[in-house]
Amino acid sequence: MSATIAEVTAVRVPERSWRSEVRALRVVWRRDLIRFADDPRMILTWLLQPLLFLFVLGPGLQSLSAGSTDGVDLTTFMFPGILCMALVYSAIFSAASLVWDRELGFMREMMVAPVSRWSIVAGKCLGGTTIAGTQGVIVLALAGVVHVPYDPILLFGILGLELLIAFTVTAFGVMVATGIKRAQTFTSVVQLFVFPMIFLSGALYPVSGLPTWLRVLNRSNPLTYAVDPMRRLVFEHLDISDAARRRLAPGVTWWGWRVPSLVEVGIVLALGLAMLAVAIFQFKRTE
């Protein structure tokens, strides 16, 4: 039998430093990626929903809306919204891994390690961002199918927006996850928030000419400010009439003032950082 140790390489755990924090953050991030890459079925499941919307719902509704889109294909119109939807789903569900870690005990392994809670939460956020971003890239690759040109500026712009949205939504998911003890609760909270947020965001319809109550809800929905710059960017690169552009991508307005894309991006980023801070605070408290 073994259990006698022929030779032992003694190791030591160094004092906490920024280097050890970076290593911790990186390994938390890498663990999420390993698990993601190991589960191709999960990747497909997450992609299924946006693809259904894009290739089934879009063409299905096309006949109804043909007159009102000024010749623009409905799937083209929906593309930026669907992209956001895909990001929201995969970001939320990668954040859910935190709840599972707690439920299945792995959380304790991280909690007793000599690293700051900050590194663990930031690593999780980075993991979710990468995974959701990857999904976004896959959907983005389908741009040509829905008549969105493969213009380098457009692609890089979308990629940047994708990462931003992925980060903010993951931060949201992690924030919810740190405040919740059971995986089941997480699922219901997600159902409660995510569906309305997607439907209220204008991902599936233009945001001008809405009834007042819907406009108020739409304007106070953070996701609105993620979808809008994405749609503007896409529409700037489409070869369509100005009338169609005005009609389909009117942009978000506050009391008649059209909110610039940069402000929208700022809102999304600020929200993401704020939610990350709340997540870290809650995570520290749950010890």
């Binding site: 073994s2 792995f106 390690a113």
Partner: protein, 342 residues
Amino acid sequence: MLLMRVMSCVMNPSTPAAIEVEALVKTYGEIEAVRGVSLTVAPGEIFGFLGPNGAGKSTTINMLCTLARPTSGTARVSGFDVTRERDDVRRHIGLVFQDPTLDGYLTAEQNLRFHAELYGIDAGAVPARMRQMLEMVDLWDRRDQKVHTYSGGMRRRLEIARGLMHSPRVLFLDEPTIGLDPQTRSAIWRYIRALQEAEGTTIFMTTHYMEEAEFCDRVAIMDRGEIVVLDTPEALKASVGADRVVLGTVDDETAMAALRDRFGIDATVAEGAVTFHVASGEAFVPRLFAELGVGITSVTVSRPTMDDVFMCYTGSTIRDAETASPAERNRAMARVVVKAGR
């Protein structure tokens, strides 16, 4: 020899005790889970922590490994204060919990690598150290398999290998052998001893198995949040002193009354049999048959074991303690609820 080690740490402050606990208290609202625990564990010692469920063992361990903040009192592990120097404590301890804390979707090797990175171990030393630990627990050949394919015993062995990855000065084991088959249990004890020899690791463990308590250098028995006794297993058995007589009778009530009236012995019923202690059991048996006046169906006389020690100091056998009184169970429940609510 152990006494000398303990003495030398008391006398010589330059070699700090592995664990030093002073009047440690933890309350959850109304519930006093730990009520003033004090103890000192010498470096390299194997220290056993026994007690019925809900006695406060896990709460004490959680405070020692920085997972719970003491309400009052102090505790130092490897020379560091568990509330003020948490990170230093964490750097020097390893943990194996009762409940699994592995990632089932990673392989054994990936689990250990995750641990090594999280603890910032020198990357050059990781492969060698990992191999030694996995070989020690006989899992080197299965390092590439996902942990969810492992049996319960293999998982526990992997937890131990992982807990030791970073050469901890103190290893905390909370029920490391519970629910395992006898072979795995004895294997785990072999690892613990091998490691203690190789690296001088201090072991602080809780266990439900009284025969395992015998392997410890010293044992503390905890009950209702307090340490009721603390000594070497030999000394504890000697303190119980008398032999144990377990009596099967046709009428336990009458037999107990007869024992009290005729021999002045206070017997209890444990595990469904009349049990009592007398100085020399063998010599007492003939008198028993002659004078008890109640039909005897069986007699067992045994030298004191750790079970007797446990019974003597907590008033129940460990198995009776499992199916504890409603009040005790409520206490245990309350603790669980408080834990979940946190």
